[in-house]
Amino acid sequence: MTADTLLSKKFDKLLVANRGEIAIRIIRACRELGIGTVAVFSDVDRNAPHVRYADEAHHIGPPPARESYLVIEKLIEIALRSGAQAVHPGYGFLAERAAFAQACLDAGLVFVGPSPEAIRVMGDKQEARQTVQAAGVPVVPGTEPGLSDTELIQVAATIGFPLLVKAAAGGGGKGMRPVVEIDSLPDALNAARREAEAAFGDGTIYLEKMIAESRHIEIQVLADMHGNYVHLAERECSLQRRHQKVIEEAPSFVVDEALRHQMGQVAIAAARSVDYVNAGTIEFLMDKEKNYYFLEMNTRLQVEHPVTELVTGVDIVQEQLRVARGRKLRFNQDDIKVRGWAIECRINAEDPYNEYLPSTGTITTIRLPSGPGVRVDTGVYPGYEVTPYYDPLISKLICYGETRGEAILRMRRALEEYRIMGVKTNIPFHQHMMDSHRFLSGQFYTKFVEDRFSMSDREAPDTLEAAILATLVAHRQGQAASQIVAPGSRDTSNWKWLSRWERLQR
């Protein structure tokens, strides 16, 4: 059997190789389509909701992901043992490991995603850049790695300043060095080589144009096995902290219909360059003049996919499953219209008032916001322990409105309604952002949170009320403790009860 016939195999039972909110998201789509679901869980996830939502669940190992959710052999073995014919990797974990996609195909399982080759090419920074560039996709101006200093200094003039000296082996902002003028370039090259050698054991460097105050705009693409490609417009993901997205929205404040069409076609060209199939995302950097450059392609479902779902009406996970079953896309480009506005806030277990330190502990209380235009994707529950084993994402709060303004007002309202106790969350950060003038006017860029946003000017509005409430509860508890007989359940108000006690004690 060739890989192609395997890919178009029908399936009615699927293993979800993930946990948390994304596992639930996938299980929901499967249930809607009548596909049976198999969940996997580590020692600490036995009580997680994805286990209960699934038709079947199998223990996969100890809490550390490398001994459970990342063990390809175990996942394949459970899939085969349970009779699943397909695997959905979600995001994170094994979603962008070509070896996992290959292992699924080798075992006769449908992998809900692109081919292993597409994952491999897009996972290699340089190869991805060369491949999409050959397909006419703009990339950030720069050099290949491995040039000599003399060559680099020559090319630098044509790239223009400011530029970045980057380590070929680096990533996530490590090993980068900005240079503003040609005179300081030779020293910077020397220093960067030494640094890269020391940090990564590889002194290979290259130059890249520095795009100041750039935005992160990405295009969602869907492709079937029959050569049909459709883009689902853009997402604005410029609000990040330490290269981690925290707030995403669709559409973008800075993209109009003409630019959307143009970027969409470029994104499709990038996807075509690797014969992409299934859902994928092309990430672009955009400068102030709205020039955009290919950053990378994510060959999987994205965390922030719900904002696109809300403004296009397309259920991306359902489409992924249909495509994996060999069906044609049910719509063409003309059918896709962006309507309204959607914003997503990632609710993380971290303390926005204390350097965003992760907050571990047990969630004691959760009450979700609801009402018009509110969607919550979450995988935690009262009693859930936030551990260092997995990422600190508690949930995604997504709000929809007819306009951006309405979406923001709804988000403010929903953030106030959300109740999570037991760990600290970044909800106050989101509230402060929703109040910020720069956010309201769409004036932000990828370094905005680090450069210009501070929690220190936020005033906690209900200090007096908090004081009164804690005192009332403490008082009641003290009174209850001093009683000889427990009060049992009272049908009168607590206050009547309380005052009776006080009168008795006079």
Binding site: A460, D462, A466, A467
Partner: protein
Amino acid sequence: MKYITKVNDQEFIIEIDQEGQVSVDGRPYAVDFQQLSEGGILSLLLNNHSLEAIVEERENGWEVLIRGELYSVDVQDERAYRLARARGTVTEITGEATIESPMPGLIIDVLVEPNQVVQKGDKIVILESMKMENELRSPRDGVVKHVYVGPGASVEKNQVLATIGDAA
């Protein structure tokens, strides 16, 4: 009954005595306070201003969640407050301050040495946990007294990493 209640750095004197009547720093408030049976929800009508909140007790005080903000609240009745004061435990952060690990993780770097003078807010230790590097900073001005860990060490939650004391 009289309570001294602290939220962040603000102190309130709260008296609870008559039915539905509470005074804060001498100012009276009409209070209707209900504890709902579902999920720890409290309803407070404060001069008919309606608030929903969750109040939970922690090891070292109370946590109150109102409209997305979490408040750490310390409540002491008058007697306990006077006793504590007499023992000198109600003071500002002088004395030795400890830098504790807020979660299990790996020490990436220690940026200070014993006897080094530090300012409040200076980075002391870089801790990696949950795939993130976290900067732990000095809570006060002073001098580094002890450093208990080095780069590469695995630490547990609440483990003491360093202490900051007064200049000799």
